[in-house]
């Protein structure tokens, strides 16, 4: 199979404008004759559904929560990037583009990233007009902070609740279309299969989570914006319901899955406190602007942090990376934390933690300024740990946070199934092997507000879409598949709960396909996952019935898909014999322990095709070319 990424030709600065100009348009009066399914109501899906509704399409939007406002985007704390250069500190579209390509360790497409940087400007305008209460200067202008390893201040934020405020903006725009009758919202409705007819995506099969009804929705195009798959690790910073099911079912219907092993570990999360732990809590990395990270110099030093004198502390990031210091990118910060803990210098219970210390900043700026910047984060930390970070340093440890991999899409955000578009974290497109802070919100909104409205119109205008009959065998077949999976899970009546399997699966993936990986470990992990999956299908216990709200069943279908994805992640990580971004293969590192890329052989996107349960996947490679940012060894020294 050849992948056609439909990349624009010509100078990158005008590529998106030219592409838009060349696109076919749907006559405004005709738009209401077309229907679109948007699965997901986060930043990507919410923005897409609202905008497509405004344009006049008939939109049905789905989410599994009880309200579209609760999509996981709500939890983003830190901020959103845009190359506005309001601070006059040398930012530009090109610089944001450059930083993002480099930050992704040269495993993303230049054209996509350039478009993202361009659109970043419009996003901020749109959100401000919607009433998103971004932080402001006294004079009333928008203010910025530097974030996530950038050397300019380009991050816009709304206290520590940026994701919430951006999502509420999109949600309100969406509800406005609901009120206008252009969007119908289906909360508590989970997509469990994709309907492909004559090679085109034409609908989805859903389960109503309240009544258990299995239903089919048909349309002219399907947009997936179902978020990332970080919960494959069980413990992650994602919301408990985040899952890969929609993407995975689409994958099994023919959509290629790209770079599944590119996952991001976030350096600043609250460490695990016990076996009952159900999720990990992120502490925004904006904290690294004013907090200093350190561990004791000596192994096994159990003194209280305040009792350890300056000269017995190791500010290891400042020491190893003098120019970026505590602000090195996430993958670098995480790996270094793991490294010092592996050396036995970690702090807190179990030795899996490092200090994030604000005492210098409090001394320099005063407690009031620190409270203004991070007050809600400090409160949250105190609520969870019972410790007061104004007085004792926070303890942090890396946790899985974001997934760069996802369904393969072309420049138009269309997957390998015509008519199936994928937006936001669910696609693989813009972050390469590592995502920079404050860029996921940007990408979700760019995809939803500013890309899909054009590319979807172009698709619809160019496709001849016959009316689909509800009795079509493909529909029957997809509905039957969903029903069978549900029945099967309910009837196993084994001895172990879904959570116990999920925890065990998560631990395998974390241990072997987490912060550092090696060939032997990955092969063994794939084997362990297959064995555990066999046990799952014979020994899981899903109580209750399929005819009402059954949260165990919801989890069970999601975990079933995580098992299959987990195996593919290990295969992908094993196949990529290089280190890049968040993918660190122990065999491939520089003398001082930094990631060693292999551009000769691995400068490509690995897109995997499904060939049936238990069969090996097909690997299709999309070569990456760099014309504007020359691949170099990332150096943050």
């Amino acid at each position: 199979m050849e992948l056609n990424s439909r990349l624009p030709t010509g100078p990158i600065e005008t590529a998106w404008d030219n592409t838009k100009f060349e696109m076919k348009l749907v006559n405004p009066a005709n738009k209401r004759k077309y229907s679109v399914l948007v699965v997901g109501s986060g930043l990507a899906g919410g923005a897409a559904a609202a905008t497509l509704g405004e344009l006049g399409y008939n939109v049905n939007c789905f989410c599994f929560q009880d309200s579209p406002r609760r999509a996981h985007s709500i939890a983003a704390q830190g901020g959103i990037n845009a190359a506005k250069n309001y601070q006059n500190d040398g930012d530009s579209i090109f610089r944001l583009f450059y930083d993002t390509v480099k930050g992704g360790d040269f495993r993303a497409r230049e054209a996509n990233v350039y478009r993202l940087a361009q659109i970043s400007l419009e996003i901020i305008d749109q959100c401000a007009a919607q009433g998103v209460p971004f932080a402001r200067e006294y004079g009333g202008a928008l203010t910025n902070r530097s974030f996530g390893g950038a050397q300019v201040s380009r991050t816009f934020y709304a206290r520590g609740q940026t994701g919430q405020q951006l999502l509420l903006g999109a949600y309100q725009a969406l509800e406005r279309q609901v009120q206008a009758g252009r969007v119908a919202m289906f909360p508590r409705t989970e997509m469990l299969d994709l309907i492909v007819i004559d090679g085109r995506a034409r609908g989805i099969v859903t389960r109503n989570l309240v009544t258990g009804e299995i239903d089919t929705h048909l349309a002219d195009a399907v947009v997936l914006a179902t978020g990332g798959y970080g919960n494959v690790y069980y413990l992650s910073t994602n919301a408990k319901g985040s899952n890969v099911t929609a993407s995975w079912r689409a994958h099994k219907r023919g959509a290629l899955f790209a770079n599944p092993c590119f996952t991001q570990i976030h350096p600043t999360c609250i460490p695990v406190s016990g076996d009952y732990q159900s999720k990990l809590t992120l502490m925004s990395e904006s904290l690294r602007n004013d907090g200093r990270i350190w561990v004791p110099l000596k192994k096994g030093d159990t003194r209280q942090p305040g009792q350890i004198p300056e000269n017995e502390r190791d500010y290891y990031l400042e020491r190893r990376y003098p120019s970026f210091g505590n602000l090195v990118p996430r993958d670098v910060a995480s790996r270094n934390a793991k490294h010092v803990c592996d050396e036995g210098r970690g702090v807190g219970p179990g030795g899996l933690g490092v200090y994030l210390d604000f005492s210098d900043s409090i001394h320099r700026l005063g407690e009031k300024v620190i409270a203004e910047r991070y007050g809600n984060l400090f409160d949250m930390y105190q609520r969870i740990t019972g410790e007061n970070p104004y007085q004792v340093p926070m303890r942090i440890y890396p946790a899985i946070h974001y997934t760069m991999g996802g369904l393969w899409v072309d420049y138009h955000l269309m997957s390998t199934i015509p008519g199936l578009f994928v937006l936001g974290e669910a696609n693989f497109s813009d972050h390469g092997a590592n995502r920079l802070g404050a860029s996921a919100l940007m990408q979700g909104l760019s995809d939803g507000y500013f890309v899909i409205p054009f590319t979807l119109g172009n698709y619809i205008a160019g496709a001849k879409l016959e009316k689909v009959d509800r009795s079509h065998p493909e529909i029957r077949n997809a509905e039957a598949c969903v029903q069978q999976t549900v029945d099967k899970l309910l009837n196993i009546k084994g001895k172990r709960t879904v959570d116990s399997f999920h925890r065990q699966l998560g631990k395998i993936v974390w241990d072997y396909c987490g912060m550092s990986r090696n060939a032997r470990g990955l092969e063994s992990a794939a084997e362990q996952i297959r064995e555990l999956r066999e046990e799952y299908w014979t020994n899981v216990n899903v109580p209750g019935s399929g005819a009402d709200l059954n949260q165990s069943l919801e989890k069970a279908t999601r975990v079933a898909d995580f098992f299959e994805l987990a195996e593919l992640m290990c295969i992908d990580a094993r196949e990529r014999n290089e280190s890049c971004g968040g993918h660190f293969r122990e065999e491939y590192q520089t003398e001082d322990g930094e990631a060693l890329r292999n551009d000769e052989q691995y400068s490509y996107v690995a897109a995997w095709g499904y060939r049936g349960y238990g069969n090996p996947w097909d690997l299709v490679k999309e070569p990456l070319e760099f014309h504007y940012v020359h691949p170099s060894q990332r150096s943050y020294k």
Partner: protein, 275 residues
């Protein structure tokens, strides 16, 4: 520590519910309230029972999914804390906790501790937005917003839509929730053109949904996990009265309340649907 939980169990909207007693002998102080229920649920499943259904997602106090009454208090005893962030340090050995769902006619019960809050979405749909379609926006710095105004908008916008305010109110009023959105948008310059119609429509929708009136009791703000101040209700009332005077003939936007869940696809104007 040891705890006794009395949890509301109800199979569905039409069946009768009751409190069921569960003894827990080994609760860790560091757990969250929801993790405590996770542990109990694992035990229940092991014994062949159905686990307790409760709503949750982010478990960081921001999505607004979670929430139930603990000993009669919405979200339990800790100030400004949702149940997902409520650690068991707030309780002591031997305590007895009665756990019940939000109770309000505009929040019909679905199962156990899970209720239907779509009425909140409809309040927003009736006018809780600024009508600016994608692409219509001027440069973000073209409209300056003084910092104190932006801060005030943010204070109100912090609402997570959890519904605790309704559950705590003897009148089951949604005034704090509705007032928060009206204040967020109504203090900003961008929100001025629709300010009056917004207040009229949102208040009308809240009434239509069967939420009660506000009699200034203040229980709502006391339990609100985001500490939304009562001032938002005053602002809503002011905008509402001003609007009622100035916009006598204005067409108010409301949406038909509905509680059914069944077969959504038929609700929709889908040109391809055959039946």
């Amino acid at each position: 520590m040891r705890l006794t939980l009395h949890v509301w169990r109800q199979q569905g909207p039409r069946t009768k519910g009751r409190l069921v007693r569960y003894q827990m002998d080994n609760v860790d102080h560091e757990m969250s309230m929801l993790e405590c229920l996770d542990v109990l649920n694992e035990e229940l499943i092991g014994k062949g029972d159905e686990p307790i259904a409760f709503e949750h997602d982010c478990r960081e106090g921001i999505c607004g999914s979670c929430g139930f009454m603990i000993n009669g208090v919405a979200h339990g005893p800790a100030r400004a804390t949702t149940v997902c962030q409520l650690t068991m340090r707030n309780f002591k050995d031997g305590d007895s906790l009665t756990i019940e769902p939000w109770r309000a006619s505009a929040f019909p019960l679905i199962k156990d501790l899970v209720v239907d809050r779509r009425s909140f979405d409809r309040i927003v749909a009736s006018g809780g937005y600024i009508s600016v379609s994608t692409g219509n926006a001027p440069d973000a710095n073209a409209i300056l917003v003084p910092k104190d105004i932006a801060d005030r908008a943010m204070d109100a916008a912090a609402c997570i839509g959890c519904g605790a305010c309704v559950a705590a109110c003897p009148n089951a009023s949604a005034a704090l929730f509705t007032g928060a959105k009206i204040s967020h948008l109504g203090v900003l310059p961008q929100g001025q053109p629709e300010r009056h119609l917004r207040a009229l429509s949102m208040v009308a929708q809240a009434n239509l949904e069967g939420f009660g009136g506000c009699t200034n009791i203040g229980e709502c703000t006391a339990v609100c996990p985001k500490e939304i101040p009562l001032e938002v209700i005053a602002r809503m009332n002011r905008d509402y009265i001003a609007a009622a005077l100035s916009q006598r003939d204005a067409e108010v936007n409301t949406i038909r309340p509905f509680t059914e869940w069944s077969t959504g696809s038929k609700l929709v104007n889908d040109p391809h649907a055959t039946s």
